[in-house]
Structures are given as C-alpha cells and as structure tokens.
Amino acid sequence: MSNASVETRPNSQLAAPDPQQPEPGAPENWRRFFSFSTDHKVIGIQYIVTAFVFFLFGGLLAMVMRGELITPDADLVDRTVYNGLFTMHGTIMLFMWTFPMLNGLANYLVPLMIGARDMAFPRLNAIAFWLVPIFGVILTASFFVPGGPSQSGWWAYPPVSLQNPTGNLINGQSLWLVAVALSGVSSIMGAVNIVTTIFRMRAPGMGWFKMPAFVWTVFSAQIIQLIGLPALTAGAVMLLLDLTTGTSFFDPVKGGDPVLYQHFFWFYSHPAVYVIVLPIFGVFSEIFPVYARKPLFGYKVVVVSSLLITVLSLVVWVHHMFASGTPGWMRMLFMFSTMAISIPTGIKVFAWVATVWGGKLRLTSAMLFGLGGLSTFLFAGITGIMLSSAPFDIHVNNTYFVVGHFHYVINGAVVMGFYAAIYHWFPKMTGRMYYEGLGKLHFALTFIGINLIFLPMHPLGLMGMPRRVASYDPEFAFWNVIASLGGFLLGVSTLPFILNMLSSWTRGEQAGDNPWRAIGLEWLVSSPPPHENFEEIPIIVSPPYGYGSDEPLVSNNPKGTFEESAASTQIANLAGEAN
C-alpha cells in the first residue's frame, strides 16, 4: 500500500464532508465543506453532495406520484397536489440535481485532468456554487407559500403558468421562475469558468488531442450552456414579468404569443439534454478503457463527435413542438436535423463497444454501472430516433412513451453514469476504498428498478396514455402497477449506495494513489489530492489511454517526489472478487 503521500499530508485532505461522521482525529476539516472555499475539489464535492440531497428529495416526490398512479383514480393525493408534485419533481431533478451534479464532477475532475492547480476563476466558482443552495431554498420554500408550489409542469407553458389562482404576487409560480432564472445565472457563471479553464490552463504538452475525453465532453457541454442558457433565462424573466407586472409577451388575451415561449424554452431545454448527457459520455470514455485495459477506440473521432453533437444540438429544438401547430416544412427540417444527431452519438456507442471488445474486463461497480448505463442509453437512443420521426411523434407526443424515453436517458444513462463516476473516482476523492459487495447490490437494484419502472411506460404511451395525468382509464392499470413497483424498488436502491459511501468515507481501506492502475493526471497525485493538486506542473508527452503500451504519460513527476508503486495496488484483489 502506497501511503507515503498520506503520511506527508496528514488529515487535512481526508476530511469527511458528512457532518455526522467526521474523520476521527480531524474534526475541524469537515467544516470546510460548509465554508466559502475556493478549492475546486471542495467545491466539486459541495456540488455533488448538495445535488444528491436534492436527488433524494426529487425521488421521494416521484415515489408519491407512483403511489398515486398505482390505481386509476385520483385518490392518494388531490389533483392539485399531484400536479405540483410532477412540476417540482421535474424541476428539482433537472435544476437542483442533474446540472449541479455534473458541475460537481466537472469541477472536481477538469483541473486535475488537464494539470491545473485550480479553476481559472476560483471565486466565481464558489459564487456559482453558493447560488445553488440559495435557489434550492427558494424552490423548496414555494411548497409553503399560500396556494402551494408551481403546478404548470417543468415547462411552465403559458397560459397555464400565468393563471395564478391565488392572486398573490408571491406565489409558487413566481418563486419557481426566480429560482430557474438564478439557476441559469449560476450555470452561466460555471460555464464561463469551465470553458476558460479548459482553454487557458492546460499543462504544457497537453494539446487538444492529448486531452482526456471527459474534458472534451465537458467543454462541448459548457459551450451549449453559453449559447443556450441566455434564451431560457430571458424566457423565464419575460414570463415572470407577464406574471407579476402584467406585461404581455406570452399572454394571448393581451396579444402575446404562447408559442413564442415554447421556442425560448426549447431552444435551451433541448440542447440541455446534451449538456446533461455529454459529460456522461465522457465518463463512459474514461471508465471503459480502465476496466477493459484497452485504449479508447478511435479517440480522435470520439472526441470530435462531441463537438458535432454540440453544433447539431442547437438546431433540433422544434422536435418538441411537432404537435404545436408547426408548419410542415419546419417539421421535416427538424426531423432530419434530429435524426442527424444519432450519427455522432452512434460513433461513440460503437467506439465504446469496440473498446470493451477483446479487453480484459473487470466488472467492478464502476464498470457495471458504465455498461448498464450504456445499454439503457442505447435503448433510449433507439426510441429517440423513433420520436424524431414526425409522423410517429404526432401519435406519442406528450404521452408516456416520451416519459419512458427521457427517463431511460436521464435515469438510465445519466444517473448510472454518475454512479459509475462516483465509484471510479471515490478512492481519489476520499483516499478510501468503497465496499464492492454493496456496490454490486446497488447496481443490481438500480438496473432492475430502472427497467421495471421505465420500460412499461413505452407500451402505455403507445396505447395513448398522456403524461402528467393524476388519473387514467382502467385499461392502463396493468403497466402502471408494474411501473410503480419498479419506482419503489428504485427508491430502495439508493440505500446501499448511501450506506456504502458514508461508511467507506469514514472507515474504508486506504486507497493509495492509483488503485485501478488507471492512466490520467489525476491518478499521479495522492488520494485525496493536495491543495493546488500538483507540486510540479506535469509535462504531458503522450496521448491519454495508453493501455497496453509502456509509454509514460508525463516526463516529470507531478508529485514532486519519486515513487514506484504499481505493484502494490489493489486491482488484483478486486479482480478476484469481480470474477
């Protein structure tokens, strides 16, 4: 076990951010996770933990919804409550979980992966993070204002979102809009920071084509944020003005155009799907080579296809509006542009399969989640192509088919990709190993749960069950019961994960610098990495993913000390368990 680094850096980097379980002997350190820290690693973990708390909250709302939908009648909760629940579920899962979680991963990993000591603008970074709990509180507070939270769905389409039955100025909808606008501001700050960091702070020798695929995907995703988010934020502000000051951008009674809002909304919110999924593609590209012991197949094509996705994602938004009274030429144009996105995406999928093929696989928890996420993503991609076909979309638009499709992307690929990333980088973040057995149990429950809840949504949608309904005709009962059971199982599946993380963080085995024998700058420094990451800025001499060849990645030692530790890592033991 290579614990030289641990001895030279006692305590300060081994802090547990969970307040109930402070690292023994280092009680002062967990507090920095509640402080205005400018260290990108602290901010990264702050993002991830905050987001995960909201993930559990949003999941709880979803389980109440599934409880309602286990019977055809609206009987468990009032219709208004159900409508509030699905609105807040969608909003929390996107703005409070997915985006902050991905920003957390990017924050933690990007500077380490490109050989930088921190982000380009550390203070801006901290401000962007601290906006998250602020708009989180605003959003949560909307449950307690008179009239309850927003009930207009996470799209907040006017005129429904402008109806304001309470008549109050401070109502669920206006708080919702303030929170979404703030979330946009926070994400724009994050995007400026990440793009600048990747442009300007790469270590010497790290040309664009020596950059890890994860950094490429984060870069491609954050460019979308910069282009698209202003549209959504502007849309939210205009809607807020309509709601509170009586302007008439979108209100048809006063001559506004409600369809215009749909353009503002989807101009960002469709590319947002790629903001979400691109970094997860990056996670897949990082994980498969490590656990298959092979280079990423077709690295250059894979990373360039990320940029292609960025470009194409900006010209597909109207496919959400095929049924909104869109003219025929527009339907056909956006049908073809949407289908075209499957080409760079397909390149990535095939490249991952080829990376795995013929390798020496180790089915660790990270690899299982990676493979599980890839297969659910493939399924979602295929239903996605079906949806892009305008004539077919007319039938399933706004039905459960769509709900099933995007949950396969977001819960299937993105959440499983997130778990893969956490298992993979957990030893780096904490200096500790997690328990493989619990990780595998977590995978089994998650994978079964996801398919049990979301697969039945496809036949439901084909049969014609609209989304966002609190009650439904009895013919839909069978598949809904199965989906609800899957939903409860998915809720249970988070328990082994939480148990694993908390106990491993405090008393897991010491991990050493590089327990997976992975190639990458982050694995050259101690676990957890010291403040400012690198004693000496690394000089990169090889492309990433040199598995199977003996080329060194860097020409100096970024730790500043000489160390030889490849033989003493734990991969052999883990492989034994995995097989």
Partner: protein, 335 residues
C-alpha cells in the same frame, strides 16, 4: 470459451472464413428476430380506426424492426465481452493496445448515415401520404381577434368530400370538450363522426393550450388560444374511442376526456336529427363535480386551483360517470 480472447486481437486475423460464416449466421438470426419484433409492434398500438393510423403503424413497425436489429447487435456484442472476455484472477496485464481502425470507423459512420437516410425517407413518405389524406397539410391558422395577423394560406386537398362537409367546431376549455355541428345546429360533449368520410374540424381554445388527441386515430394537435386551427382526418372503423386532452392544461387536465363515436352514415344522420330536437341541458362535467365537492369540505386537501368553466349546455351529452370511465373502444369483430 474464455480462451477465445486472443483471437479477437487483430481485425484482419479475425475475419477468417469460419468467423465470417458465424457472423453471417448471427446476423440472419438477428434479422429474423427483428422482423418478428416489427410484426409484434402492431399489437402494442390501439385499434386502427383511421386511415392515418395504418400509415403510422407501418412506420412504427419498420422502425421497431430496425431498432431491434441495432439493439440486439450492440447489446449482444457487449454481453459476449462481459461473459467471455473477463480478466483472469490475478492477471494484471493489459489488453491489446488497439487504438482504432479507420476502415471500421468509416463503416460505422457510414451505416448509421444510410440508416438515418432510410428512416428519414420512409418517415417523409409517410408524412406526405398523410398530407394527401388531409390530416397534415391543413395547418392553416386563422387569426382571431387579438393576435396580430399572420400570413395564411389554404391548402385544399381532398380524398372524399363529405356530404355534410361543414367543419365541426371543437371548443376546448378548462375542463370540457364541446363539439358544435353548425349546419345541423347540434351541440354535444361527445364527438360523433360518420365512418369512411373525411372529418373536418375547426379547433379553438377559450383559455389555455389544449391538445386534441384520439389514440385510435393516431392524430394529435395542440389548440392554441387566440387561433383557429383547421384539422382533419378520416375515421375508417366503427366503434367508440377515447378523446383525450394531450397538452397539460391545469388542475383537472387528466379528467378532460370524452368519447368519439364512429358510426355508419345512417346512424350518424339519425343521431344528428335526434340531438337537434333535444332541448339543451347542462352536461355532466368531472371538473365541475369535483370542484364543487372540494369547496364543500371544510378542510382543503389541495393547493390553489383555477375555477372550472361552467358545464357546457348541449343537446347531447355522454355518460357522466367518471369513476367508471367508458372503455377506450368497444370490441368489434375485426375483419
């Protein structure tokens, strides 16, 4: 089987004759499974009650077959790796350092492009045919009252003009559907249509955006307030089907449903005549009933809601019972 690992290292070595035969066999098996899945796809959809539905189902069946083929191919390959290409215990060595293969990468860029062109073309043709049937091209929007003028252009396409070709007015509101037959002076909360004639509609909304959706007809159209939208399709199968609001419209959205009855020309005319003689009364309305009930209870269990519009006053109204909604369609012997 685990010893097969080494054979897969070099693409050129891999493609020997035996392997090509094996791969061809697998591809044919996959093709057969995919074609079978494509046939199964029809049974996942509601009955084909409109001319449009036949085209859409064919398109869906085709896409299901293509999708199944790809899914099986990719997941099958992954599963083979997972089962047979695992690292041996205590084997610390790496796999073969293959960084890419230009030929392979060109193939798997080219094939998806061709597939997309194929699916896109089939979709386009379907769309075109649906346009001829009338359900797609009539996207003319007319400006009413407050909305600034937009250029409008009538596209008249007709397969079979109905004798009673005045469009049926569809009035949607929170939360009721009302259908008016202007020529006959009939209003109803249940939509009646003659079979095998193109049904034409003028869709309007009085408050928020609603969606006109009949799953058995595979048609859907959002109804934008302030606009009048022309819409048409051709029902081809007698029966009773469900019409649903498909675009979320607020509190009682889920209950904003009614029935469509497709019947013979004779039965349709008879229904119109009987309805025209009936005195208009307030129709049963789920939103109204539930809202009134909620107002009576002293403790509110819910959050704020918009007050539902009064129940429509119509000549004919469908079954009011909502706790036992009518089935989506009545089973009829299928020819």
């Amino acid at each position: 089987m685990a010893t097969n690992d080494q054979r897969t290292t070099d693409l050129n070595k891999v493609l020997n004759r035996r392997r090509i035969i094996n791969l061809t066999g697998l591809a044919i098996a996959n093709l057969l499974i995919s074609l079978w899945m494509g046939q199964q796809a029809y049974s996942w959809l509601p009955p084909q009650a409109s001319a449009e539905s036949i085209l859409i189902d064919k398109l869906f069946s085709f896409m299901t077959a293509v999708g199944t083929f790809i899914f099986n191919g990719v997941v099958g390959t992954l599963l083979y790796s997972v089962l047979f290409q695992r690292a041996a215990k205590y084997d610390p060595s790496d796999g073969p350092p293959i960084e890419g293969n230009v030929k392979l990468e060109i193939i798997w860029t080219g094939i998806p492009i061709l597939l997309i062109l194929w699916i896109g073309t089939v979709s386009y043709q379907t769309y075109d045919q649906m346009g001829i049937l009338g359900s797609m091209t009539q996207k003319t929007m007319e400006t009413v009252e407050t909305v600034p003028a937009e250029p409008t252009q009538k596209v008249a396409t007709s397969v079979e003009e109905s004798a009673t070709s005045a469009p049926i007015e569809v009035h949607s509101r929170q939360w009721a559907w009302e259908f008016r037959y202007p020529k006959e002076g009939v209003s109803s909360t249940e939509l009646h249509l003659p079979v095998n004639q193109r049904a034409k509609f003028k869709l309007t909304s009085e408050d928020v955006i609603h969606g006109f959706f009949v799953p058995a007809f595979r048609v859907k159209q959002d109804i934008i307030p302030g606009k009048e939208i022309d819409f048409s399709f051709t029902p081809i199968r007698e029966g009773r089907y469900r019409l649903r609001d498909s675009l979320y419209s607020g509190t009682y959205f889920a209950a904003n449903q009614t029935d469509v009855v497709v019947e013979s020309e004779a039965a349709y005319q008879k229904w119109l005549q009987t309805a025209a003689k009936t005195t208009p009364t307030a129709a049963a309305n789920v939103a109204q009933t539930e809202f009134a009930q909620a107002e009576k209870t002293s403790v509110s269990l819910g959050w704020a809601t918009v007050k539902p519009a009064p129940a429509p006053i119509v000549n004919y109204s469908n079954q009011p019972n909502t706790s036992q909604p009518t089935p989506q369609f009545e089973e009829e012997p299928h020819e």
